[in-house]
């Protein structure tokens, strides 16, 4: 199955020296002119600049220095709590796995390192793939995600994800349904403040839009295992939809406070949709 490729860019300069696709702070063999320096400082006669040398009042030989493009680490932090196994129009878990597969491929294609942090347990170490240029490592993770049984009963472990990120500023996709308390979300966002975080909201239209109009449903929460009887009727349906609208507004507001623009995936995974996020 071809998931396509995501094109992405970041609005900041990468700090890494490893060449890549992104604007960097490093000097080197790029196309972007940085400044002139004396030949002594950059002993590369190929970059000799005649006009700059003639203009120099101290009659020194000036060479041009360019900025290289560097790679950045791309991380996917996945919330693997049980609620992510919801199956509506799309299987959230599959959308998540698709996302991981496609992002690892896209990172490889862009020349970036791909890392994965799966947050499933509150106490144990998260499931971590350290950033790597390995082409299949991300795909391997995705394959496991397709069939993995999601059992975690909270999303608390997202708090520990930041510890696993390296010191370099990274592009971080934080994938979750964000069905957890706002307090927790604020803490998570604060812990990831240094990085470029793209909150990916994995929602499903069957959660709030395409609801049954009539009938009796006993819905269970896979995280708490609690169930509730719903006497579905148009008025309740409308109230659920309103509740989700409010929730969405609240989340957007919270993300906004941390300077993040969320990416809402509610119709399954589509790489163009993600590309569109970066190149609006």
């Amino acid at each position: 199955m071809n998931l396509g490729e995501v094109h992405y860019k970041v609005p900041w300069r990468a700090s890494g020296s490893y060449p890549g696709h992104h604007a960097s702070q490093q000097k080197g063999g790029g196309l972007e002119f940085r400044n002139h320096v004396p030949l002594i400082d950059a002993p590369d006669p190929r970059r000799f600049d005649i006009r700059a040398s003639l203009r120099d009042p101290f009659e020194q030989i000036r060479v041009r220095v360019y900025q290289q493009t560097s790679s950045i680490p791309v991380y996917v932090i996945a919330d693997l709590s049980a609620s992510m196994s919801f199956q509506g129009a799309n299987d959230k878990q599959k959308v998540l796995a698709d996302f991981v597969a496609c992002m690892s491929y896209s990172a490889y294609r862009t020349g970036d390192m791909f890392g994965f942090i799966g947050c499933e347990d509150d106490v144990g170490r998260p499931w971590v793939l350290p950033p790597t240029l390995n082409r299949v490592a991300g795909n391997e993770i995705a394959q496991q995600l397709y069939t993995k049984e999601l059992r975690a009963n909270s999303s608390e472990s997202l708090l520990h994800a930041a510890e696993q990120l390296g010191g370099k500023r990274a592009l971080v996709f934080l994938i979750s349904d964000f069905h957890f308390p706002e307090k927790l979300l604020e803490k998570v966002l604060a812990s990831l403040a240094y990085h470029h975080v793209v909150p990916v909201m994995l929602w499903d239209r069957f959660e709030y839009e395409n609801l049954p109009s009539f009938g009796i449903a006993r819905v269970t929460d896979p995280e708490t295992n609690r169930s509730r009887l719903l006497l579905m009727r148009p008025s309740l349906k409308k109230r659920i939809q309103e509740a989700f609208t409010q929730r969405r507004e609240k989340l957007f507001e919270l993300f906004g406070q941390y300077g993040r623009m969320p990416l809402l995936l509610e119709d399954g995974f589509n790489s163009d949709e993600v590309t569109h996020y970066f190149f609006g």
Partner: protein
């Protein structure tokens, strides 16, 4: 007094009754997975439906268990108020009752002086017919029935059930009377019906007899004692025989002893000083009138106890369970299997 007492034909089944807690503990419904319940808005109606369904299921189990256990309403005494009286009908079933009524025709021919069998309604048949009508009119009365000839026979203890009374009254109309008439035994024994019974209304002893009997002194004392003790009003329907002398015909004492012992009995009853009335009856109309008179006299309310037989209630409980199950079936059918 009117306590609802329940019993069970298979009480051991009641051990299953705790099963009724199950629906309260576990919903037993198919569930659909949903991402997060915390976002769903509060809905009191749904919560109410939740409790209602559980209670409904619990009630189904309870009524099924009660049905299987064979619940019944045990027999119970019920106080009833009747109109009229407790009446003992004491019917003379001696052979003389099979004979026709007195004929007032004077100067009968020899052939006429003997009634021809099959051409008449006998005194007994007539009396039973009229008594049957009387009993049918007084649906709230209680009747007991005794017949006597040689030995008194207890036919029916006090009851107010018309079918039984009618059957008992008509049962004796077969015309196979014995020759002897032991009035004393009939009276004393039939009065035993009042023994140990609450005095709840007027008590009547309807003696239907043609009365050819003598009462000894001992018997007289005992009868008088019993009538007094049970406070019984005695009505004597004296069915005058085809050729018999009446109660009030003036006869000298020798003749009385010889031909009309009923006059002596009447004399004894009159002299006891107890409520007593004699109705000398010479034809069916007179009997009707006499009984009609009693009907008017005895209309005081009486209180008595009746027993309602035990009633099997299990079918009721099965019915309740069925109705509730249909309700549950309806909800089951409206259950959302797939969250769409």
């Amino acid at each position: 007094m009117f306590g609802l007492m329940f019993g069970f034909s298979h009480p051991l089944v009641l051990l299953l009754l705790p099963l009724a807690i199950l629906p309260l503990v576990y919903h037993g419904q198919k569930t659909v997975s949903y991402s997060s319940l915390s976002i769903l808005p509060e809905d009191p109606l749904s919560d109410l439906a939740n409790i209602g369904l559980r209670v409904l299921a619990s009630l189904v189990i309870m009524s099924l268990v009660l049905g299987i256990a064979g619940i019944f309403q045990s027999e119970q005494p019920v106080d009833r108020i009747g109109q009229g009286a407790q009446t003992i009908i004491l019917i003379d079933s001696s052979g003389s009752m099979d004979k026709p009524f007195y004929s007032s025709k004077k100067n009968k021919t020899a052939a006429e002086s003997v009634a021809k069998f099959g051409t008449y309604e006998s005194k007994g048949q007539m009396a039973r017919r009229v008594l049957g009508d009387y009993a049918a009119q007084r649906k709230q009365d209680m009747f007991a029935l005794y017949v006597f000839s040689g030995n008194p026979i207890k036919i029916l203890p006090f009851t107010e059930k018309q079918a039984v009374i009618q059957a008992a009254i008509s049962a004796g109309s077969l015309e196979k009377g014995l020759a002897s008439t032991d009035l004393a035994a009939g009276l004393t024994r039939s009065l035993e019906f009042f023994e140990d019974k609450e005095f709840t209304g007027s008590r009547i002893l309807m003696l239907v007899s043609d009365g050819a009997a003598k009462l000894s002194m001992v018997a007289q004392e005992q009868i008088k004692f019993l009538l007094q003790k049970h406070r019984v009003t005695l009505y004597w329907f004296y069915l005058r025989g085809y050729n018999g002398p009446g109660l009030f015909d003036e006869l000298d004492s020798d003749m009385i002893e010889m031909t009309a012992p009923e006059q002596m009995v009447h004399k004894f009853f009159s002299e006891t000083g107890l409520p007593y009335r004699a109705y000398p009856v010479e034809n069916p109309d007179a009997l009707n009138n006499a009984i009609g008179e009693v009907n008017k006299l005895q209309n005081l309310p009486i209180r008595y106890q009746d027993i309602i037989p035990k009633r099997d209630l299990s079918s009721w409980f099965y019915g309740i369970a069925l109705v509730l199950l249909l309700l549950l079936l309806a909800t089951k059918l409206s259950e959302i299997q797939v969250w769409r």
